[in-house]
C-alpha cells in the first residue's frame, strides 16, 4: 500500500496557492479538498449544505455566538468543526489528499504524513494575477487582496494558536513569484519526494 501523503496548502490571496495545490493533487493523483469540502461532507452525510457555503472559511461573530463548556452556537465555528472531523476521519483512514486552507496545518499536525506548505507572493505579482484573472483594475485588485487576506488571517487566527503565514507554523513557506507556479510546484514535489 502506498504511503499516506497529506499536503496542507495555506496561501496568500493572489499567490497562486490554490493552483499549486491543484497541480500537486494532479501530480500525486490524490484528491483535492478546497471549497468542495462541504459537498464531500454533504454527500457523506446525505445532507444538503448549499445554504452553508457562505459560512465557509469565515471566523465566528463573537457578538452573535456563545460558548458553553466548549460547545459553540456559532454556525461558522460548528461548520469548521464539522470540516475538522471530516479531515481527521480521512487522515485516520490512511487516505492521501491535498487540503487548501481551513487551518489544516494545525488540526492535522499530529499526522506524520502531513506536509504543510504556505505560499506567499510579491505584492505586484499578486495584483497583476488578480487583475488578469478577474478583469479588475489595479485599485480593485488591491482592495480584493487586502479583504481576502484579512478574512483568511482573522479566520485562521481565531481558531489556531500560531498566526496565519507565520513560517514556524509550516514545514515550508515559499514565495511563488520567484519561480512561477510551475517552478514552485517542481520545487515542492522535490521537497515532498525527499520527505516521503
Amino acid at each position: 500500500m502506498e504511503k499516506q501523503l497529506i499536503i496542507s496548502v495555506g496561501r496568500e490571496y493572489g499567490s497562486g496557492g490554490h493552483e499549486i495545490a491543484e497541480k500537486l493533487s494532479g501530480h500525486y493523483g490524490i484528491q483535492l479538498f478546497d471549497h468542495n469540502l462541504l459537498d464531500e461532507i454533504a454527500a457523506k452525510k446525505n445532507l444538503n449544505m448549499e445554504h452553508l457555503k457562505g459560512l465557509d472559511e469565515r471566523r465566528k461573530n463573537p457578538l452573535s455566538s456563545r460558548t458553553v463548556r466548549g460547545y459553540s452556537s456559532s454556525p461558522e465555528e460548528n461548520l469548521l468543526y464539522l470540516q475538522f472531523d471530516f479531515l481527521r476521519d480521512k487522515a485516520d483512514s490512511g487516505e492521501s489528499f491535498v487540503i487548501v486552507g481551513r487551518c489544516s496545518e494545525t488540526i492535522l499536525k499530529q499526522y506524520d504524513s502531513l506536509i504543510s506548505i504556505f505560499v506567499l507572493g510579491d505584492r505586484d505579482k499578486k495584483i497583476e494575477r488578480i487583475m488578469r484573472l478577474y478583469q479588475l483594475t489595479e485599485s480593485q485588485a488591491v482592495r480584493k487582496i487586502r479583504e481576502k487576506d484579512m478574512k483568511r488571517r482573522r479566520y485562521h487566527n481565531s481558531f489556531c494558536d500560531r498566526k496565519w503565514g507565520d513560517s514556524r507554523n509550516y514545514d515550508i513557506s515559499l514565495n511563488s513569484s520567484k519561480l512561477g507556479i510551475d517552478g514552485t510546484v517542481e520545487l515542492l514535489t522535490d521537497y515532498i519526494d525527499r520527505r516521503r
Partner: protein, 451 residues
C-alpha cells in the same frame, strides 16, 4: 458617589467581556470581583465590613445554612454559598448518572415505548426534556437528548432539527418549573427564601400550562417536516436496546436511588428543614461514596468554571447592591410603572425575557433580585409574585435566540457536529414566536392568579 461609579463601570465591563468572550467568563467575573473589592469597597467605600459581608463566609458556619427549623428567610447579600454548594452537589450526582448510562437508557426506553414512531417520539421527548430539566441542569438534559435524537433520526430517517429545537425549548421551560431547574431559580429561591414547593406550586403551574401550548405549537409547525422524511420500513433490530446502553448495572441502580432520594429531599425540604446546600452535600457524598472507584473522575468532571463564575458574579452584584445602585434602578422601574402592579409585572417579565434572550440570564437574574426586593418594599407589592415573574421572564426569554441559554448552545452545537448546522435565522423563526407566546401566557396567568 465614587463607589457607585466604580461599581457601574465594573458591572458594564463584566457584561461586555462576557458577551464578547475575549476571555472565559469565570476569569471575567473573578477579575471583576477583585476589582470590586479594591475599587468599590476599598477606594470608594473604605469599608472592610462590606468586603466581609460580600464574601459571606460566615453564612456557611451558621446553622440556618444547613438546617432551617422555622420560616425560611433567604440568605444575606454577597456570595450565595448555598447556591454554589447545591449546584456542585447536583453536578456530581449528574456526572455519576451519566457515567452509568442513565440518560441514554431513559431516552432509548421511551423511544421503545412509543415503538419508534416519529410523532409520538417528538411529543414524548419534549415532555421528557421538560421533566428532566425540572431536576437536572438543562445542559446535561440536552446533551443526551440531542445525541439520542440524532442517533434515532439517522436510523428512522427524519430531520432531527425540529425535534432538537423543541427539546431545547422544553428544557428551558422545564427549568422554570422548579427551584433547582435553572440557576436563576436557585439564586432566586435561596436569596429570597422560597422552597421547592413554592416554585412548583407557582412557576411549576405556569410552566405546566405553557407546556400544553408549546406541545401544540411545535406539533403544528413541525409535523409536516417530521413526517416528510420518516422511513416506513425500519429495521428495529438495528436500534440499540435500552439495556445495552447501561454501562454499569450496579452503579445504575445506585444512581437511580440517589436521584430518587434527591427528588424526595427537594420536594420535602420545606417540611424537613434541610436546606438546598445540605441536599447538595448529601447527593454529592452519596454519589462519591457509592462510586468511590470513580470519585476522582467524577470530581474532575464537575464544571468548576461555572462555580467560579457564580462566585465572582455574586461579588460584582454585591458591589452594586452595597452602593445602592440597584435601589436607584428599582426606583426607576417603579417610576415608569407609576406604582401600577400590572405595569410593573409587564416590565419585569418582558425586560427579563428580552435581556435573557441576548445576555446570560444568571447575572441578569442576580442583578434583578435586589431590584424586585426594593420594588416590593417601596410599593407594597407581594415579593413572591415579582419573584415568579422574574423567574419566568429570565428562564423562558433565553429560548428566543441561539445565545440566550446554555441549553440552546449545547443543542445547536450537538446538531451541527453531525452536519445539521442551525443558523440564527432558522432558529429565531421557530423559537421566537414560541418564546413570545409563552411569556405572554405566563404574564396573563400571573395577572389572573395573583391580581
Amino acid at each position: 458617589m465614587l463607589a457607585q461609579v466604580f461599581a457601574v463601570i465594573i458591572f458594564i465591563a463584566m457584561f461586555v467581556f462576557i458577551v464578547t468572550e475575549i476571555v472565559e467568563r469565570h476569569v471575567v467575573s473573578l477579575v471583576c470581583a477583585l476589582l470590586t473589592m479594591i475599587f468599590v469597597f476599598g477606594i470608594g467605600m473604605h469599608s472592610m465590613e462590606a468586603v466581609i459581608e460580600t464574601i459571606n463566609l460566615k453564612s456557611i458556619f451558621a446553622k440556618e445554612f444547613w438546617y432551617l427549623s422555622g420560616e425560611t428567610s433567604g440568605s444575606s447579600a454577597g456570595i450565595n454559598w448555598e447556591t454554589i454548594l447545591f449546584i456542585f452537589g447536583m453536578m456530581v450526582m449528574v456526572e455519576g448518572m451519566a457515567r452509568v448510562g442513565f440518560f441514554r437508557w431513559l431516552c432509548m426506553r421511551i423511544a421503545r415505548l412509543v415503538n419508534y414512531q416519529v410523532i409520538p417520539l417528538f411529543i414524548t421527548f419534549m415532555v421528557l426534556s421538560t421533566v428532566l430539566a425540572m431536576f437536572i441542569d438543562s445542559i446535561t438534559v440536552i446533551l443526551f437528548l440531542a445525541a439520542v435524537t440524532i442517533e434515532l433520526s439517522q436510523l428512522l430517517k427524519f430531520n432531527p432539527v425540529p425535534m432538537i429545537l423543541s427539546e431545547i425549548f422544553c428544557a428551558n421551560l422545564g427549568g422554570s418549573a422548579t427551584m433547582c431547574g435553572d440557576p436563576p431559580n436557585i439564586i432566586i429561591g435561596t436569596s429570597l427564601g422560597y422552597s421547592f414547593t413554592d416554585f412548583v406550586t407557582n412557576t411549576g403551574v405556569i410552566a405546566g400550562v405553557c407546556l400544553i401550548a408549546v406541545l401544540v405549537y411545535f406539533y403544528l409547525i413541525f409535523r409536516k417536516e417530521l413526517r416528510a422524511g420518516a422511513s416506513k420500513s425500519v429495521d428495529y433490530g438495528s436500534l440499540p436496546s435500552p439495556e445495552s446502553t447501561i454501562t454499569d448495572k450496579k452503579g445504575f441502580a445506585v444512581s437511580c436511588v440517589i436521584f430518587a432520594v434527591a427528588i424526595v429531599l427537594l420536594v420535602t425540604h420545606a417540611q424537613t428543614g434541610l436546606t438546598v446546600s445540605t441536599i447538595g452535600c448529601i447527593v454529592a457524598i452519596a454519589t462519591l461514596v457509592t462510586s468511590w472507584k470513580y470519585a476522582i473522575l467524577l470530581l474532575r468532571k464537575v464544571d468548576y468554571k461555572t462555580l467560579l463564575f457564580f462566585i465572582g458574579l455574586f461579588v460584582v452584584i454585591g458591589g452594586l447592591e452595597q452602593t445602592g445602585i440597584l435601589e436607584v434602578m428599582a426606583a426607576f422601574i417603579g417610576k415608569i410603572s407609576g406604582g401600577n402592579v400590572m405595569v410593573m409585572i409587564a416590565i419585569i417579565i418582558w425586560l427579563s425575557a428580552v435581556a435573557s434572550a441576548f445576555v446570560d440570564n444568571i447575572p441578569f437574574a442576580t442583578t434583578m433580585i435586589p431590584i424586585i426586593k426594593s420594588l416590593s418594599a417601596a410599593y407594597g407589592v407581594d415579593l413572591s409574585m415579582l419573584a415568579w415573574t422574574l423567574a419566568m421572564g429570565t428562564d423562558i426569554g433565553g429560548s428566543a435566540t441561539p445565545i440566550g441559554a446554555s441549553a440552546n448552545v449545547v443543542g445547536i452545537a450537538t446538531a451541527s457536529r453531525e452536519g445539521y448546522v442551525i443558523k440564527w435565522g432558522h432558529y429565531c423563526k421557530k423559537m421566537m414566536p414560541a418564546t413570545v407566546m409563552v411569556v405572554l401566557i405566563s404574564m396573563l396567568l400571573i395577572y389572573f392568579r395573583y391580581l
